[in-house]
């Protein structure tokens, strides 16, 4: 289980910035679309933003699988929540970014707790 401050702060920074960007972009692009369409599209866009930021920046700084799964999760949920709760596009981008950054914090905490629960020796062969 990760306990080094550099990587913990790195994961947190990656999640907050990915969440803010994904939520703002999705609110900007998709908030005028009908909900049934904007939700799945925003999840995909949010994941894509997480992946782009990972390969552009976070992978070289903080690791591969760890920031990847966290930022893609953050991007997916931040994008989806942005189009659900920030319906007025451009005028609300700051609000969307703030909400996305909070999603990043929540995802960081939940994944850290999940990892703490399941890291270490396992019942063999379950994956």
């Amino acid at each position: 289980m990760e306990q080094r401050i550099y990587f913990l702060l790195g994961d947190l920074t990656a999640n907050i910035s990915t969440g803010a960007l994904a939520a703002a972009v999705c609110a900007w692009l998709l908030s005028d679309l009908p909900m049934w369409l904007s939700m799945p599209v925003s999840m995909l866009i949010g994941m894509a933003i997480g992946m782009v930021l990972l390969y552009a920046l976070f992978l070289r700084l903080f690791g591969a699988m760890e920031p990847m799964l966290q930022t893609m999760t953050t991007g997916m949920f931040a994008g989806m929540l942005a189009v659900m709760y920030v319906p007025h596009g451009g005028s609300e981008l700051w609000r969307a970014a703030m909400m996305g950054s909070h999603v990043g914090i929540v995802v960081f905490v939940l994944i850290w707790l999940l990892n703490a629960a399941i890291s270490g020796p396992q019942t063999m062969g379950r994956e």
Binding site: E2, F7, M47, M51, Y55, F58, L59, R60, L61, F62, G63, A64, M65, E66, P67, L69, M72, T73, M76, I111, L114, N115, I118, S119, G120, P121, Q122, M124, G125, R126, E127
Partner: protein, 213 residues
């Protein structure tokens, strides 16, 4: 994918491999890898998929290691790290499917982020099973698929993209180890259920017969 295509893929990746992997991923995994490679014993060791040799600094000193890799470009980058290793290490350009070692040759086999990329992974593991001595050990540091949403969804979505450039993200490697005939000893999760070490061994001959039945 043919083996020549796999070789070409990793040759293309060689020049940027360290740029992407040498800092963040290796530093993050360094403590786990040091613990993982500390299992290296005093017999003949096969290290599959040397790559650019990023794992070599984690090897304990004084071991007798044969390293192979399908990509000659990767091995060019690995040479300085091999030369710096304080032990006996030889590297060869060799595909796991073309291994020419005698049966029952190695005491231990180690892999590190390898079976996310080997085409036909169960057949590749069967090749390892063949060159490992009965009772010999297989130790793997791998990333695999996840059982849990949303990670399983993401890994499945990413695999068609990443497999063109490098690894698959959704391999059931633990199950593949079993399918290839190894006896599973332990699985240790490093990050979620995705990054893990897998420890197995080749059964003694009478044990293998019992398993097959």
């Amino acid at each position: 994918m043919s083996d020549s295509a796999t070789r070409a893929k990793w040759d293309r990746a060689a020049s940027t491999f360290d740029l992407m992997s040498a800092e963040g991923p290796e530093k993050r995994w360094a403590p786990a890898k040091h613990e993982f490679f500390s299992r290296m014993g005093d017999g003949k060791i096969l290290f599959l998929a040397v790559g650019t040799g990023l794992d070599i600094p984690s090897f304990p000193d004084g071991k007798n290691i044969t390293g192979i890799d399908i990509s000659p470009r990767m091995l060019e980058f690995a040479k300085p790290r091999v030369a710096a290793y304080n032990g006996n290490m030889d590297i060869r350009e060799l595909d796991v499917f073309d291994m020419d070692y005698p049966d029952d040759h190695f005491d231990q086999i180690f892999t590190s982020c390898t079976f996310c990329s080997v085409p036909r992974p169960v057949a590749g593991l069967e090749c390892l099973h063949k060159v490992l001595k009965p009772g010999g050990e297989l130790h793997m540091f791998e990333h695999t698929r996840s059982r849990w949403f949303p990670f399983n969804l993401m890994l499945n979505i990413m695999t068609p993209l990443t497999s063109r450039l490098g690894p698959d993200m959704n391999r059931p490697t633990t199950e593949n180890v079993r399918s290839a005939g190894f006896q599973l000893d332990a699985v240790n999760h490093i990050f979620l259920d995705v990054v893990k070490t897998i420890h197995a061994h080749r059964a003694q001959e009478n044990g293998a017969a019992a398993t097959a039945s």
